[in-house]
Symmetry: C2
Subunit: 175 residues, 2 copies
């Protein structure tokens, strides 16, 4: 296959409706990006892959023209590590093709565990430090502050308790 032929293949006309759909999907994920704390480029990538009926090659993705080669490479790696996309081997060509992997559900679950669990762990040790700092305070102050600290602790426990609930909940129904 000559370079030229491959080039044509990559640029194969995508109908306006397909392009429109892709753009809408990309927008959707870009919106969601900051909630999930991922850079925009990663959201764009995922949108492109998610919106494609067939698996896409690196070249095809890059050909969308939104992102530089470097960003595509890094972004795909991030998505693979997150389990958001996977590689499938192409029948004809040797190059790998990308397609969405885990369902939303698992992705979100993983997100919850990683981001929130870490946060909670950090919080816990901070609270320990506070606990320890408390006894040295004068009486008058200690009272108010102890109650504030309790607020923090109570909040922390609730957050921890909520997590498994959310987990369970997200398992319900197909998705």
């Amino acid at each position: 296959m000559t370079p030229k032929a491959r080039d044509l293949l990559q640029k194969q006309e995508r109908s306006a409706s397909v392009v429109g759909f892709e753009e809408a999907v990309v927008d959707f994920f870009v919106d969601a990006a900051d909630l999930l704390g991922v850079p925009k480029s990663v959201a764009v990538l995922y949108g492109i892959v998610f919106a494609s009926p067939q698996p896409l090659s690196f070249a095809e993705i890059q050909a969308r023209g939104t992102l530089s080669k470097g960003s595509v490479s890094q972004g795909l790696r991030v998505l693979r590590e997150m389990g958001a996309i996977k590689e499938v081997s192409a029948p004809a060509d040797r190059s790998e093709l990308f397609t969405p992997d885990l369902e939303m559900r698992r992705l979100i679950q993983r997100f919850l565990e990683q981001r929130l669990e870490k946060q909670l762990a950090a919080g816990k040790s901070r609270l320990g430090a506070l606990q320890r700092a408390l006894p040295d305070l004068e009486k008058s102050h200690a009272e108010t502050l102890r109650s504030r600290l309790e607020q923090l602790q109570s909040w922390h426990e609730k957050a921890r308790a909520l997590l498994p609930i959310a987990r369970t909940f997200l398992k319900l129904a197909p998705g």
Copy 2:
């Protein structure tokens, strides 16, 4: 009251233990800051106010030396708007003093509503656009894509359903 006298008052010795406690509280909130999506300076401010047994004046807060006048001013405004702190009038002096306002619970609740609700609303309209883009696609493609779209919708509904649950849950128990 001469400036000098006031100055002394502001710098009144805070015992090492009080300072230590404050630092620990500040650290706690700084940690939490990025989860909540607020800038560090705001977290620091809230920590300072939260860790203080008495309400603090603008000058006292600034005297902690961590933040510039501008940041203190802006940050206090943000916190007031969030309902995280409130002003109480000082008995002696005319200047206003700051103290924590809403309990954690309400703050978090508000946070959930503002950040997530907005997100969900945006998502909803995006999904509408996708819905509309779908019918124009060819058969072969439409099948896969329709199913992907359904995934998105299902996810969206679940998130929406989870919100009230979280709300209820956070109301349980004092805090």
